[in-house]
Amino acid sequence: MNGKRRLLSHYGIRAILLIAFSFYIVHLVNADKLQYYIVPRLIPYVKYGAVGLFLLAVFYLYRIIQLEDKPSEAHCECGHEPPRSPFRSGVLYVLFAIPLLLGFALPDRIMGSDIVTVKGMNLQVAEVAKPSPVPADPIAPSPSPSPSPSSSPDTNETASDAAAELPGEKTIDNPSDELDRLFPTYEYSEEFAELGKKLFKREVIKVRSVGFLEMLTMLDMYKNNFIGTDIVISGFVYREDDMGTDQFVVSRLAMLCCSADSMPYGFLVKADSAVALPNDTWIAMTGKLSTTVYRGNEIIQLEASDISVIETPEDPYVYPYIDDFAALAEQ
């Protein structure tokens, strides 16, 4: 008798918890806020998960009804019995209840400056793409084979740092040679170099949500080739403590799997109207690309010519781009 009541209460609590979880997911789907937490490609799995949770809840309800009718069907002895002591049971179910409470009690918000402060802003995307140094070719003009920006402060042409690719005596008499010289391809960065070559002569380059990271990487890798180009970009305003009153970062959060792995990326922006823009304001802007030194590193800075405040987009995060880079070049 006691056993049956205990089991009933366990089943009951479990059913309630499971239904609450599936209900929370349904709520997020209805409010169209699932993408605040996870990558779009995983959304179907979460929906299946909600169905699974619901089925399990229904099962427990079924068991409750069954137990009422036939008390002899009570136990399974399969090693998955609920905990015996009320304390342990309490801890177990409180543990499950905590995410539910937080889920319903606090609003579902887009990640913004508060998250960026903890994770740290990435202003040097291309560092990731820098390949291992190529061994020096004896006839290459540059003494340093490693293409890191800090090792060539005297040249304004980072292109000349390209190692074994360039024989010193190549003359620049046709455009494709010129492009090759300006966009040296290191072993695996051809895609970025090709993209750069396609966008080279444009006066305006649009950086969209699709392929955001890849565009940022390409621009950062070949920044000296794009000085003076107008960049059209949108993102939210973020500031570090050591930035001037006319500086901020136009940023986006890149997500790969879920909110916990999101990484902030962006460009430093210089604008007189910066003071009027609080953190987390979403803006669409146009700015001329130039470079500046920030915390000892040479990075891109956009000199803003036009900034407008926009509505927070439905899908504020950016995701890695896996299609053909040629599509990015179509503006």
Partner: protein, 335 residues
């Protein structure tokens, strides 16, 4: 006489885990409590976002794992499993390394499945290798590592290679040296199916097992996610990155970092690549191999699966081999 302390309550394990986590937090940020009142509330929103994100991503796969495990328990006879794994230990280990291809799901779902497989007769060393190597050697992780390190594909091969090497070592040691059964026996009798009455509807049984296992494993998942989300939300990464810049320390640090962050193996390559400018390739490799093998969530779940001593042994072996392996590969092949 029944030795009660053997099946140490998960309560104790959780308590120690929590205390250790607190210790780590305080050592990183000693003023944690004093600044706590304001920043705690501000950080609550971030904490919630991180926590829900982690759970939403993991729960479907945990659910899948427990249903697959229960299905196997109820519907598939033991003899079938014994026939599937090659007798030869070396071959068995290699097969286990590659089994990850079949189950490219979040590693959270893997543990109930392996628990069931071992109970059904899969040799221990095969199960151990599968648990640790499976999350890394699969097509999804391969693709995401490749995408994150587009211009350094050697990182992808180094990651897979080191994972398999560690797996071989683990499998070999477990095969030759582990004599006593390290499985934690579940409450009631063991998970064997021999004396199990199948009088009732099999579907009902499957659900009963799945439900029980979901709550068993789910508690570790949630506990681990709470700790991870707290670290992610309250401890600035720049603080963490400030430590461990020396060559020796950086490998060690990256492994600890991977443990604390508890990222899914599908997405950690991305995070690792963001550190490419400040950390050596070798230490990133340590991050990429150690993280999926051991992190807060999986450590807790392992404790539900194996006895504590065994888990500590595995932890030590993995830590040492990943450290040395990443250092060696980093020095010779990645620079």
């Amino acid at each position: 006489m029944k030795s009660a302390p053997r099946t140490a309550s998960w309560k104790m394990n959780a308590l120690f885990g929590g205390l250790f986590g607190l210790l780590v937090l305080f050592s990183i940020n000693p003023t944690l409590l004093s600044e706590a009142s304001v920043s705690f509330l501000e950080g609550m929103q971030s904490f919630k976002t991180m926590l829900i994100g982690i759970l939403l991503e993991a729960l479907p796969f945990l659910l899948l794992g427990v249903f697959v495990s229960s299905f196997m328990h109820v519907f598939i006879p033991e003899a079938w499993f014994r026939r599937m794994i090659p007798r030869n230990p070396l071959l068995g280990i290699l097969v286990a390394c590659l089994l990850g291809v079949l189950f490219p799901i979040c590693e959270c779902g893997l543990i109930p499945v392996v628990r069931r497989l071992i109970a059904k007769g899969m040799p221990l060393y095969v199960g151990v290798v599968f648990i640790f190597v499976g999350p890394i050697v699969n097509p999804i992780v391969f693709a995401s590592t490749y995408a994150a390190f587009r211009t350094k594909p050697e990182m992808v091969y180094a990651r897979m290679g080191l994972a398999i090497a560690v797996g071989l070592l683990l499998g070999w040691i477990v095969y030759y040296f582990i004599r006593s059964d390290p499985m934690r026996s579940a409450k009631g009798h063991g998970a064997g199916a021999a004396g199990h009455s199948h009088a009732r509807n099999r579907l009902v049984e499957t659900f009963e097992h799945a439900g029980g296992e979901f709550f068993d494993m789910g508690k570790y998942l949630i506990l681990g996610s709470l700790i991870t989300a707290a670290i992610q939300a309250y401890v600035p990464r720049s603080d963490l990155a400030g430590i461990g810049q020396g060559e020796f320390a950086s490998h060690f640090f990256m492994m600890g970092f991977a443990f604390l962050l508890s990222l899914c193996s599908n997405s950690d390559a991305f995070v690792a690549s963001s550190f490419a400018s400040t950390f050596s390739a070798g230490s990133l490799l340590a991050f990429l191999v150690f993280g999926p093998m051991l992190d807060i969530k999986s450590a807790l779940m392992l404790l539900s699966l194996f006895k504590t001593r065994f888990v500590l042994l595995l932890t030590g072996l993995i830590a040492i081999s990943v450290f040395l392996g990443a250092w060696f590969i980093g020095d010779h092949y990645l620079n």
